[in-house]
Symmetry: C2
Subunit: 413 residues, 2 copies
């Protein structure tokens, strides 16, 4: 089955918003074994919308549109589909009731233009919209299927998951299964070299995705039976784990803070943070995880030297002699926060995020991470980043998590 995705809305052609709907739909369709050949974006312009739809029904089996289903004059999707499919728009009394019900429930007044949304091309099946007024459209013709969803991502996604996905799965019985392996502490090119001989494998296929200071390997298999595809994927995973297993920190939907949370819970220990250049970002990422209060005590954002001295117990002489950005300060911060917040583990970072504050000796991007373990012993790590402020701060959190993860995973007695 060949699919085409069409995003409708002038705001997309102005670049006011990024079209995330298409990537979402493309991923879901690919996951069902459907080949997406084209993604098109077109504005709220009658003529160009017709042309784009006409072309799509000629070259694809399944056309999914998003946007242009609202009640205003700009919303042209309904009319365009009616025209292209030669199915006249007819009012659906059941939809009138739904739309009136929606406004009653919200206790707001319905304006007459909302009734436009109760018209569908003849023969179309309305797709229920549990979170808005615009119903979707599903229309089967001899050679193609058109599905129209609203442009608001939240509405589109709920309707796709609840109604469209089950329908498509029935129509198309080729299955695609993917598995993701998450790596930390190894670069994309090194990984590619180590896996060179299997990277070209066709089924399952392998793809490396790098970004945000880590690398993912996506393994995708196609077939008719789940069992067979999963077996093929397992074989690849086994090969990869044999070669570079020590750099894999997780599979599928996960993140470093997620895996660290699991390890801390499993070992029944708590952690506290002392953050300088990250200003709270490590804490924000740790507490992103629901239930993190079980192992996260809290932290000190020690942005000024006073706070480092008064609230973490860093020695004034250490800062004067070695500087606030030094392994010695990082070590005292980690020890200090561990003791003062009565945690089992203390993690600290101090560095120069930029753009100001760098010197020849201590350039922008220099960062020290301190890790005080459960026995009180402290290790420090030196890092040199080359990014801008944002990137340096993010990579600092990634590195801190990396050392913490390895400590919890491998060095913990």
């Amino acid at each position: 089955m060949i699919a085409e995705i069409i995003s409708i809305g002038t705001e997309l052609l102005h670049g006011d918003i990024v079209d995330t709907n298409s990537a979402y739909l493309a991923e879901k369709l690919t996951g069902c074994g459907i080949d997406v050949h084209y993604i098109s974006t077109v504005g709220d312009n009658k003529q160009r919308l017709y042309k784009t739809l006409q072309q799509a029904v000629e070259r694809a089996d399944l056309i999914i549109t998003t946007g242009g289903l609202g009640p205003t004059m700009d919303d042209l999707t309904r009319e365009a589909i009616s025209e292209i499919t030669t199915c006249p728009l007819v009012m659906r009394p059941d939809l009138v009731i739904d739309i009136e019900g929606y406004f009653n429930h919200k206790r707001t007044t319905m304006t007459p233009n909302n009734l436009k949304q109760s018209y569908l091309p003849e023969g179309a099946i309305p797709i229920n919209n549990p979170v808005g007024t615009a119903p979707g459209i599903l229309l089967e013709k001899d050679n193609y299927i058109i599905i129209s969803l609203p442009g608001v991502p939240r509405e589109m996604k709920i309707m796709f998951e609840e109604s469209v996905l089950p329908y498509i799965k029935k129509k198309n019985n080729l299955m695609i299964i993917s598995k993701e392996l998450h790596f930390i502490g190894i670069g994309e090119s090194t990984l590619e070299t180590k896996l060179e001989d299997i990277m070209d494998s066709m089924n399952p296929s392998l793809a490396l995705l790098a970004g945000d200071g880590e690398v993912k390997l996506k393994i995708t298999g196609k077939g008719r039976t789940k069992k067979k595809i999963e077996n093929k994927i397992s074989e690849i995973v086994k090969t990869v784990r044999n070669r570079v297993g020590e750099y894999i920190y997780g599979e599928d939907e996960t993140s470093l803070p997620d895996e660290i949370g699991k390890l801390l819970s499993k070992r029944g220990v708590t952690i506290a943070l002392a953050e300088s250049c990250t200003g709270g970002l490590i804490g924000a990422r740790i507490t992103d995880i629901p239930g993190s209060s079980a192992y996260f005590k809290g932290g000190v954002i020690a942005y000024s030297n006073e706070v480092k001295i008064n609230h973490l117990g860093v020695n004034k002489n250490t800062i004067n002699k070695e500087g606030a950005v030094s392994p010695e300060t990082a070590a005292e911060m980690a020890s200090g926060v561990r003791q003062r917040l009565e945690a089992d583990i203390g993690l600290s970072v101090t560095g120069i995020a930029g753009p100001e504050g760098g010197t020849d000796e201590k350039p922008v991007g220099l960062v020290y991470v301190g890790l005080a373990g459960i026995d009180g012993e402290v290790k420090t790590y030196k890092l040199n980043f080359k990014g801008d402020r944002n990137k340096n701060r993010w990579l600092t959190t990634q590195s801190a998590f990396y050392y913490l993860y390895r400590y919890l995973k491998f060095s913990f007695k």
Copy 2:
């Protein structure tokens, strides 16, 4: 001038990555007064890429492609342009030198396939790539211009800004100027009602963009002279400021932490944070701003009650009697951090982010913000959010910034 944007790459059709390049280019082109009629995405497939390009040169004056310029066999953009324009590919000795130079500089070995990137369609001008090996292509034909840029956003953006934008501005002399007003403390629909009579204005046009707990108004004017457009925009801005000026916190590229930073600097005062449910996210956002060390002392991430008591001086009885999520605790947290970190202002948040931890009396989404002013007086604010954990945490930071901003702007003596 009518433009079309084409994104090339199978990874886009799989939904592995979201196409942010097109929105970036669309915004820049719109800003130059160029109408973008279509955005298309096509995979690394010869036949479909040719068709898409052929169609584009027939209906647009300016075609910008991204992706498919790399050295591998999958990269087909160069060949496709050569075919469509009937300009044969010729090797450019100057580009060979550039590419060899790039590898020498990086001290890595050049593989022969990299030389593919030294071939350009005859008559094309290479676009310098300061951060990678793939040069871009600029080819002027009688009826259209094709510009090809790499798909890596960082490379694409630098090349667009440095080389393409100046070229396009010369070619097209209609000007578009935009101004953005940032609102906080007023909802999209209220704002729309208050501006109803001017929302339909054509030139300048007005658009409301809501998201992330705030609303933006984008005012866009078109014309031939800068002065005239700016005057028209100024009139609209004046009208808007007269009606809803108190909710405007900034113009154009800015953010709440940015404006708060400016106010703190201007007034020469410092701030400290006591964060519970946000776990460091407020600090992370404040320290996103370069130079924030001038006014940000630091903070305490008081995730556990122990930390609230021992490191912020919250009274144990307050927590036992009123609970950790209460106006009383928020007030003591704000006072405590202000005193202990010797800051002029203390800002605190405590709440239930979810998904667990809610009760009938104190449901998920209940948050208290505490603000201890320069005179030591404390105010607290109650909030009820209805989102998931992520959204509740983000909206908590937005609200805390809102109260802080209003304090600094209006109540400060």
